[in-house]
């Protein structure tokens, strides 16, 4: 028979509607979250890309070869080369060492270069150009430099052999960053002028960065092509690789979004499971009639599978369509808040949604449908709801066990497929099942308790408890499902709070926003005296010594033998070594001990990620070349560092005294309030040779990014919450027929509407209480697991949250049930009874 025809007949009867809606919801949840996640993730990449002025950056010490640029053009990617080097700037009154950056007219590919005409003056628009990048013959200056040299718009200065006119000062250089720890202030010129300066010669130290932007697929192709033929000293960076503080934010947000998406899927699955269970139950008599009329078992279940197959495809397609509409709505809300235009979503979430829908349908429905084939035709002669023979436990188990097992396996499959960490997803699922089982048991215990004390309960309460006790299996199932739903919501709520708290904490309002670099040893005393005179706390000065890593465990470092580009990048540059007597408060010791007692070995403390990348551990022996002097020691401890604290931090810290009398400069960071600019000016005036770096703009960027992610997290959380409410509705719907019939009988026997309402409220309160309690207990455990293991956050036990959570859950159950069941009270008994024959 025609599957479409079968589907139409079943659909017309309303048999499939609930299952269809539940499936649509499941697919819509997956695809909405998928679409939003896709777009937000893409926006995050763009947001992060503005910190590197491109999606990807090829770093090299050579100017990009023409064939490299041609290859980019062929792939349809935009490219923007830039060169950075140190040089002397010859101003009208004096010469200053500067860091020159030569940029193309299309700089920056991502983010915005902001320029003002004079120090502290109004921003200059780009005169209709796409970018405010300097035109040939123009130069842009760091504000501090302009102030120091007393240069303003139109003034002239020389770099090498070329002369430039000052076009303005740089307010915000998107990829200015911290990473380079520029010693000299920035000067920006056009790339075309580079040759005219005559400063680029063989042997000059120039760092080239080729920023690239375009579609993700093209970028990936280009990256793969280039990766294979990188010359020594070359590497490709993305925003996430190059900026540890941004990377950790993006990773955490991604984990949470995936977790929320998984939660929505699980919740919608529970709704679907309820709906399909009801559908199969309603199909049981139909199957018996068909068997009686001579249909084979295979035909009975093939027929149902065909109808459900049509349902799956239709509901899946509609679900994806709903997802697309919902996400468009979300994007509209998000658009003004995110300063990056949200990119269009890809196709992947649609396919994922369809796949999840079909997997869920197959996993949940097939065992039930198979059991329809096993229905005894004899059923038609007996108007009863049981199989022939005693409805003993064994028989029920035989029928339900495969359904339950298949449901569990399906959920595990979906969870594992949809998660970046399959093991954790599987554990999460199993933990949820544990909580569900616990809630099922608790509901049974509560029912037993209720029955025992029934005599002391008011009339409608007694009826409510008895009504629950009449279908203990269903009550357990529902309590279990409710518990899982509440659990997911509570865990998401708890983790969300932890996550938002940690993000807000990561960039405190008084985070250092200025770095002072290049303080000489003989200046430190004068500097601290100056601070005392200014009535400011002394700087926490960190020594800085440039060194090159030359040997590991006695073996000289051979760059040619290092395969991993990131490892090579680390080895191929000068390190900033520092020494410290005391352990830095924003570091965490993860192995070894901080400066063991004198005499013991070990004079180095490494950042853990750094040590891992270079395959170093406790006891590894490193040899450094410090300005021609060799220093060798072993690793005594490993630390983790919070890069997003904006405090000076170092990959390698050495024991004080180990570096002998090596020439060190010092650096410090401090917070400068906006109204306090005078202090910065006095500092620079008093110590002209130090460099002041304003990191405020960069902190603002990271903060904007954080706000953007917090918003995304809230939205995804709201979606999961919606799915949770729908689970409740589906659970209530599942017993709708029975309630309608019972309600009609009771009304016929003279029960008032109020009595019926109380009865049902009692039922759901008992369920809600059992589910809420177990969910709260599970949520604490789960949020601890998720926070500490998945997101690596500090976990705080807050006894109020689970209490409030479970109470909230109870109210949620009660209110939803009351609203959903209201029509039952209004039903006309005669009609309801006739409906069931």
């Amino acid at each position: 028979m025609n599957a479409w025809l079968l589907f139409l007949r079943d659909w017309r009867a309303g048999e499939l509607r609930l299952a269809g809606v539940a499936l649509l919801l499941a697919v819509a949840a997956v695809s909405t979250v998928g679409f939003v996640q896709d777009r937000v993730a893409a926006a995050l990449v763009i947001g992060a890309a503005r910190l590197t002025a491109g999606d990807l950056v090829l770093a090299s010490d050579q100017a990009p070869a023409p064939q490299r640029l041609e290859r980019l053009a062929a792939l349809g990617l935009a490219a923007s080369p830039m060169a950075t080097f140190s040089s002397m700037l010859r101003g009208p009154s004096r010469n200053v060492l500067v860091s020159v950056k030569a940029v193309a007219a299309n700089y920056p590919l991502r983010g915005v270069l902001r320029v003002s005409a004079a120090v502290g003056g109004a921003e200059v628009a780009a005169d209709g150009r796409a970018s405010a990048a300097p035109r040939p013959g123009e130069v842009l200056l760091a504000p501090g430099l302009a102030a120091r040299l007393g240069l303003g718009r139109g003034d002239r200065l020389r770099l090498g052999r070329a002369e430039f006119a000052v076009a303005g000062t740089i307010v915000d250089e998107p990829d200015g960053g911290l990473a380079a720890f520029r010693i000299a202030p920035r000067v920006m010129i056009a790339e075309q002028d580079l040759a005219a300066t005559g400063l680029i010669r063989a042997g000059s130290r120039v760092s080239w960065r080729l920023a690239v932007s375009g579609a993700a697929a093209d970028l990936a192709r280009w990256r793969a092509l280039e990766q294979a033929q990188l010359a020594p000293g070359e590497r490709i960076e993305s925003a996430a690789d190059s900026r540890p503080e941004v990377r950790s934010l993006i990773e955490q947000a991604g984990q949470f979004l995936r977790l929320s998406s998984l939660a929505s899927v699980l919740l919608a699955s529970v709704a679907l499971l309820f709906a399909l269970r009801r559908h199969v139950e309603r199909q049981r008599p139909v199957a018996a009639i068909l068997r009686c009329l001579g249909a084979s078992r295979a035909l009975v279940w093939r027929r149902q599978a065909a109808a459900l197959g049509v349902l799956g495809v239709l509901a899946g397609a509609l679900g994806v369509a709903c997802g697309a509409v919902l996400q468009a709505g979300l994007a509209r809300i998000l658009a003004p808040l995110v300063d990056v235009p949200l990119p269009a979503p890809g196709w992947r979430p649609a396919l994922d949604g369809m796949a999840v829908g079909l997997i869920l349908l197959a996993g949940f429905a097939l065992p039930g449908l198979y059991s329809l084939g096993q229905v005894a035709p004899l059923r038609v002669l007996r108007n009863e709801d049981q199989e022939p023979g005693a409805p003993n436990r064994g028989r029920l188990l035989q029928r339900r066990l495969p359904v339950a097992l298949a449901a569990v396996l399906t959920l595990l499959l979906v969870a594992v497929l949809g998660s970046a960490q399959p093991l954790l997803a599987a554990e999460t699922c199993l933990a949820m099942l544990g909580v569900a089982a616990l809630a099922a048991l608790a509901s049974r215990a509560l029912i037993a308790l209720g029955l025992r004390s029934a005599a002391r309960l008011p009339q409608s309460w007694r009826l409510g408890v008895r009504s629950l006790a009449r279908r203990p299996g269903f009550a357990s199932l529902q309590a279990g499902a409710l518990a899982v739903g509440l659990l997911v919501l509570l865990v998401l709520g708890l983790v969300r709070n932890d996550l938002l708290a940690s993000w807000q904490a990561s960039v405190p309002a008084d985070a250092p926003n200025h770095f002072v670099l290049g303080i000489q040893a003989d200046e430190t005393a004068a500097l601290q005296a100056f601070l005392r005179a200014e009535q400011r706390p002394p700087f926490d000065l960190r020594p800085l010594v440039r060194a090159r890593l030359v040997a590991i465990d006695g073996k000289p470092v051979d760059l040619g033998a290092v395969k991993d580009p990131r490892e090579r990048a680390l080895l191929d540059r000068e390190f900033n070594l520092s020494w410290a007597e005391h352990f830095n408060a924003d570091n965490r010791l993860v192995a070894g001990s901080w400066w063991p007692q004198s005499g013991a070995a070990g004079g180095l403390s490494l950042e853990r990620g750094f040590a891992e990348r270079l395959h170093l551990g406790l006891g590894s022996r490193l040899r450094f070349d410090v300005a021609g002097v060799t220093v060798e020691s072993t690793v005594a401890s490993l630390r983790t560092v919070r890069w997003d604290s904006f405090q000076p931090n170092f990959f390698v810290i050495v024991r004080p005294g180990l570096l002998g009398d090596a020439d060190a400069s010092y650096l410090a960071s401090f917070h400068l309030a906006a109204a306090d600019q005078g202090f910065a000016d006095r500092l620079v005036e008093r110590f002209p040779q130090i460099t002041l770096v304003d990191t405020g703009a960069m902190i603002a960027q990271v903060r904007g990014l954080t706000a953007q992610m917090a918003l995304a997290v809230q939205f995804v959380f709201a979606l999961a919450l919606l799915a949770g409410v729908l689970v409740l509705l589906a659970g209530i719907q599942a017993t709708h027929d029975e309630r309608l019939r019972e309600g009609a009988v009771m009304r016929a026997l003279g029960a008032t509407r109020a009595q019926l309402r109380t009865l049902q409220l009692v039922e759901f309160s008992v369920l809600g209480a059992a589910a809420g309690l177990c969910a709260a207990a599970g949520a604490l455990l789960a949020s601890w697991l998720v926070s500490t293991r998945l997101l690596e956050l500090e976990w705080h036990f807050d006894p109020w949250i689970p209490v409030l959570g479970s109470l909230g859950g109870l109210l949620l159950v009660g209110i939803t049930a009351a609203l959903a069941l209201r029509p039952l009270g209004r039903a006309v008994p005669a009609e309801s009874l006739r409906l069931f024959g």
């Binding site: 007949r9 009867a13 139909v286 009329l293 084979s296 078992r297 002669l381």
Partner: protein, 201 residues
């Protein structure tokens, strides 16, 4: 509480029904009438003994084999009609033909509905039909495949006397016209007397 020991419902029963014959199975509630019908139609299997249907020993067939045999030779009418609520009257009658894969199901079902006098109401759902009309649809469904044997389980049990009589008249008429064997379970002696043979349990 169930009594201890095995519960014997039917024992020492030996009877045969020839083609074209009509047999009424009579007995009080709980005497095993419906169980006997179920055994005869292959809806259930006896603990001991053998049932032959249309020349085939049912014990030699599995569930699906018995279903296939039912599809070939048997028609059913039930006390509570058992029409599929989701299907229209016509679709309900088409169902057995569709299960057999008959190509002209719609035409033959329409003809069967015409025969029971409901030709005009084929697009109605069971819910909107009266009890007598529902049973006529069930009768059309039972006879649409031209079965050699019609099993009827208290076909008038849920109907008032007059409607019941009309249904029975229709059934006996069709039985006579198509030469169908009729096995009827009833507790109504007046109905039983219209059958060629009576079996009291």
């Amino acid at each position: 509480m169930l009594p201890a020991g095995p519960l014997v419902i039917l024992e020492g029963l030996d009877c045969s029904v020839s083609a074209g014959e009509s047999l009424a199975i009579l007995g009080a509630s709980g005497s095993g009438k419906s169980t006997l019908l179920a055994l005869l139609a292959g809806l259930d299997v006896p603990t001991l003994g053998e049932v032959w249907l249309a020349g085939e020993p049912l014990s030699s067939l599995d569930e699906d084999g018995r279903a296939a045999l039912r599809a070939r030779v048997a028609g059913f009418v039930f006390q509570s009609f058992h029409l599929l609520p989701a299907y229209t009257a016509l679709e309900n009658v088409m169902l057995p033909l569709e299960l057999q894969g008959a190509p002209d199901a719609r035409r033959r079902a329409q003809a069967a509905l015409d025969e029971v006098g409901l030709g005009e109401r084929g697009d109605q759902r069971p819910r909107t039909l009266s009890g007598g009309e529902q049973q006529r649809v069930a009768l059309a469904r039972a006879l649409v495949t031209r079965p050699r044997i019609l099993f009827a389980d208290e076909p008038t049990g849920n109907l008032d006397t007059r409607t019941g009589e009309r249904i029975m008249a229709l059934m006996f008429d069709l039985n006579a016209r198509h030469g169908t064997t009729l096995v009827l379970v009833t507790h109504d002696p007046s109905l039983a007397t219209r059958c060629a043979r009576e079996l009291r349990l």
